[in-house]
């Protein structure tokens, strides 16, 4: 089984499955912070997904996307948090 095959049919489906779980939490999440966490988790998983896909397709350029995502994803969480605090 080649490396890419393993990844494409092994790792990636699992990753997207995990993403689905996070999304279910986002849908069900009773309070807003739950949804925010789910979104943050999806973002982290997206970083993972990009990195794995970079290996699968042997394209180091995709790594930069992962960096940008890492830089910015936590900004959303902070924005939600500051909004929540200001509203009370």
């Amino acid at each position: 089984m080649s490396l890419t095959g393993l990844i494409l049919y092994g790792a990636l489906p699992l990753l997207t499955l995990a993403m689905l779980f996070a999304f279910i939490r986002l849908v069900r999440g009773p309070s807003l912070p739950d949804r925010v966490i789910a979104l943050d988790l999806i973002a982290t998983m997206a970083i993972g997904f990009t990195a794995v896909y970079a290996i699968a397709r042997n394209q180091p350029a995709l790594l930069d996307v992962a960096i940008v995502l890492a830089l910015l994803s936590f900004l959303g969480t902070v924005a939600f948090a500051s909004y929540l605090e200001k509203r009370i």
Binding site: L14, A18, I37, D40, L41, A81, R87
Partner: protein, 112 residues
């Protein structure tokens, strides 16, 4: 499958399994605060190991340094984000689950 590929695939699978555990954790945990502990720590570990896989697989200075920079960066931002959300949740009165024994923070903050 040379050694490099084997190590990469092992690291990737470790990372992916962490991710799935994080997913399950966020779904099954009873209340917000426990869920957060699951997601933040575990997910960061997962991404960390995947990025290590990249460093191992591409073996070029430029790429490895960027991969390690991302890991460092994630290690820096994830806890801060988790902290902020927990703070906001606690202040907005997100309840602890009924199983929790005690709320050590009660009384320390002048909740409006």
């Amino acid at each position: 499958m040379i050694l490099r590929d084997i190590v990469t695939i092992v690291l990737i699978f470790i990372g992916t399994s962490f991710m799935v555990i994080a997913g399950i954790g966020v779904l099954r945990m009873p209340d917000l605060y426990i869920r957060m502990s699951a997601t933040t720590k575990v997910a960061t570990m997962g991404v960390g190991s995947i990025l290590l896989a990249i460093a191992v697989y591409f073996q070029e200075l430029g790429i490895t340094s960027r991969a390690l920079a991302t890991v460092a960066f994630l290690l820096l931002t994830a806890p801060v984000a988790a902290h902020m959300i927990a703070r906001a949740a606690y202040f907005t009165g997100v309840p602890l689950c009924n199983l929790s024994i005690a709320d050590e923070l009660k009384g320390h903050y002048d909740l409006r």
